[in-house]
Symmetry: C2
Subunit: 210 residues, 2 copies
Amino acid sequence: MTARAEATRERLLKAAKQLVMSKGFAGMSIDDVLRATDLTKGAFFHHFKSKADLADQLMRWYAENDMKMFRTLLAEAEAAHDDPLDQLLKFLTDFEAYLCDPEHPPRGCMYALYTYEDDHFENAVKDFVAETLRTWTAMYIRKFQEVIDRHPPARHVSAKQLAEMFVAVIEGGLILERAHKNPGMAARQSEQFRSYLELLFPSAPRERAA
Amino acid sequence: MTARAEATRERLLKAAKQLVMSKGFAGMSIDDVLRATDLTKGAFFHHFKSKADLADQLMRWYAENDMKMFRTLLAEAEAAHDDPLDQLLKFLTDFEAYLCDPEHPPRGCMYALYTYEDDHFENAVKDFVAETLRTWTAMYIRKFQEVIDRHPPARHVSAKQLAEMFVAVIEGGLILERAHKNPGMAARQSEQFRSYLELLFPSAPRERAA
DNA sequence: CTCTCCATACAGACTGGTCTGTATATACTT
DNA sequence: AAGTATATACAGACCAGTCTGTATGGAGAG
C-alpha cells in the first residue's frame, strides 16, 4: 500500500467515524462517506470489501488509536508519580482535560454505539469490542490493585469493581453529554469518581495535593 | 380508537421496541416490524403517519412506561422508610432486583440508543429525550437533597452531582452488560454506587441495616 | 330488533428512490 | 509495461410511503 493509498484509507475511516458517531452505523450510507471525502465507489471498494468490512476495520482503527491514547496518559502518570494512587488521580485529571478538549469534538464512544446496534455486526466485530473493553478494563484493574495493596480502602472493594465502575461512569457520562448537548458532563462524572476514590483511600499520601 | 385498534398499536410498538433495541432505529425497517407482528403496511400507516412518527410515539410510550416504573419504586421506598437515605437505598436495591429480573430481557436504555443515533431524529424527539432525562434526574435530585439536608456528607457534594452520577452509572452499566452479554453488570454498578453513598453518609441511621 | 350506512381498521400491490455491491475503464507510479 | 489506485456506470435488492380496496363494528332509522 502506497503512502497515497494509506492517506485515502485514513480519509475514508475518519469521515466514517464522524458520520457513524452522529447517525449510527446503519444510518450511515457508503455514499455519505464518499460525499464527505469527495471520493467514489471505486476508492471505497478498493479499500473495503464491503460495508461490514468497514465496520470491522473502523472499529479496529478506532480501538487502536483509543488504546494508544490511554496507554500514553497512563505512562505519563506513572512517570510523574511513585504512588499508584497519585498516578491514578493524575491519569483521571488528564483524562478529564482530554474529555473537555474542544479539539476532539466527536463526543461519544464507538464501543457503546456498536453495542447499541448489535444485530448489524458480525460476531467477530462484537467479540472484538468485548475483547477491547476487557483489555481496557484490565489496564485499570492492575492499577487499582496496586492502589488497594498500598492503601487499605475504607470499605471492602475489589479492583475489578472499581475498574468497571470507571468505565461505566465514563460511558454514562458520554451519553448524558450527548443527550443534553452539554460537553463536560463526562468529565464531571470522572471528577465525581475521583471523589469516591478519595473517600475510599483516605490514607493516601499528600503528595498529590501539591 | 377502539380496543382492538389500541391492541394493534401496542403490538406494533412492542415489536418495534424489541427490534430497535437490537438493531437500532435506522437499522430496523418497517417491514421488520410487520414481519414480527404479522401485520401489513396498511395497519402500520394507519397508526403511524411515517417512520419518524413511529420514532416519536415509540419514545413517548417507552418513557411513559419507564417513568411509571420509577415512580412506583420510589413511592414504595418512601412508604417503607422515614429517613430519606433509607428510602433511597431501598429504591436502589429494588431497582437492582428489577435490573436482574429475567422477565425484562430487552436490556438497554432507549434514551441512550436514540442519543447515539442523533441525526436521524427530529428535534422534537431529541428534545423530548433530553427533557425526560431531566425529569428523571430531577426526581433523584430532590431525594438526594433531602438526604444531604439530613445527613452531613463526609465530603462536599451536590444533589445534582449525585443524581447525574447515578444516571451515568446505570447507563454505563447497561452498555457493559450488552457488550459483554453479561446481565447483572448494570445492577452491580448500582451496588457500587450505594457503596459510595454509604461512605458519603456515614452518620446515617442504622435502621437500614436491619 | 334489524337493516342500512358509514367510519374505522386493516390488507396488500405498487412506486420512486436509495442502498450495497459489481464491472469496467482510466490514471498514476515505479 | 505492469501493478496499484481511483473513477464511472450500472445491476439488483430493499425501503419508506401511497393507493385502492376490503372487512368489521356500531349508530341511527324504521
